[in-house]
Symmetry: C2
Subunit: 207 residues, 2 copies
């Protein structure tokens, strides 16, 4: 078994956390230093993370998440959002390749206008779905990186996104992708891992 | 640096592949054996993978993907879809926990009806977005597992999803989440990794 296989098999969605295990910004930053490498469409880096350790704000978020206990017992609550207008930042993001001479001015201009046009033509729905798609790729990277550093996580969708946006004053430009709670799992309240479909049930081959 | 950090930093979105490096179903199945462990909302396991190694079908897919050369030079093209009606399978998926006595009949019935109601109330848009969200979590796991086994990948969104559905006769129940090409990267045509935002630009702390 490779270290990665071990990591994947050890990672479980935590059903609860041990309270009083604070996580520092430095520890979180080390996780985010890896999250940075998750791929995003056209390298637009749509995802944004809001990390809440303040206990009053966590209580409000718990109320917005059907009062699930793991929200307040976690070390931090993380709201993953995606920037629906990430494509408007293309010129700045691609500038490095131009400055390094890896692309010339003409290629750069084409890349910027091509990316912009792709999202503009896709419209509101595509822009929203891209926020979710790229935010979720990133969120999986976050959960694995957290486990690699000894932290347990639980991805959550059972919450009132509008209430969360209101509590955290998240701008409409950002789509709420998911909530992730992070902490030290209360292993004593762990259940066996849920049923997983065998590979041949979720994979088809066209040979 | 941990083995996971190395893996993440070694993984690059391949800009092109060396042709004539076939991948076997056995090699792919080994990757999917790990993908199985990606979390999904309520353990509904929305993602489905269609793997194409047939060269004629690959050529059709290339035409549907703005004729990008990496589609035909890849060892396999993978279409990640998400089942919008995954919630209709809740009763079957949760049955194991009931049979093992981990939940009783009342808890089981509640879980099934609660999950079903959550998706029914969410409606078409939520069901589609859940397919994308859970499909993308799974896709990130796929790309890391592939790299762990020596394969390079490129996640792609620049293709005509309707044409892809038509070529592969994918049912409307499934939302096309992304295309992933997999193979052995042609390292000689590799560019430096694109600019990445520093952590403080994509993370906010509420302390």
């Amino acid at each position: 078994m490779t270290p990665f296989e071990e990591l994947v098999k050890e990672r479980r969605s935590a059903s609860n956390f041990l309270p009083d295990h604070p996580i520092t910004n430095k520890e979180l930053d080390e996780i985010f230093e890896l999250v940075k490498f998750a791929p995003t469409a056209f390298n637009l880096q749509h995802p944004h993370y809001t990390v809440i350790t303040n206990s009053e704000v966590k209580e409000k978020l718990q109320a917005a998440a059907n009062n699930q206990y793991k929200v307040s017992s976690s070390s931090a609550v993380i709201i993953v959002t995606g920037d629906k207008w990430a494509f408007k930042d293309a010129a700045r993001i691609y500038e490095g390749l131009l400055m390094l001479g890896i692309v010339n001015k003409q290629e750069y201009d084409y890349q910027v206008s091509d990316t912009t046009m792709f999202y503009e033509q896709g419209g509101d729905r595509f822009q929203r779905e891209e926020a979710i798609r790229n935010g979720s790729l990133s969120a999986m990277m976050f959960m694995l990186a957290a486990k690699d550093k000894g932290w347990d996580t639980c991805p959550m969708i059972g919450f009132d996104a509008a209430a969360v946006k209101d509590i955290l004053q998240i701008d409409d430009q950002y789509e709420v992708v998911m909530m992730i709670t992070i902490g030290k799992e209360k292993v004593s309240s762990r259940r066996p891992r849920g049923y997983r479909k065998p590979v041949n049930e979720f994979v088809s081959y066209v040979e």
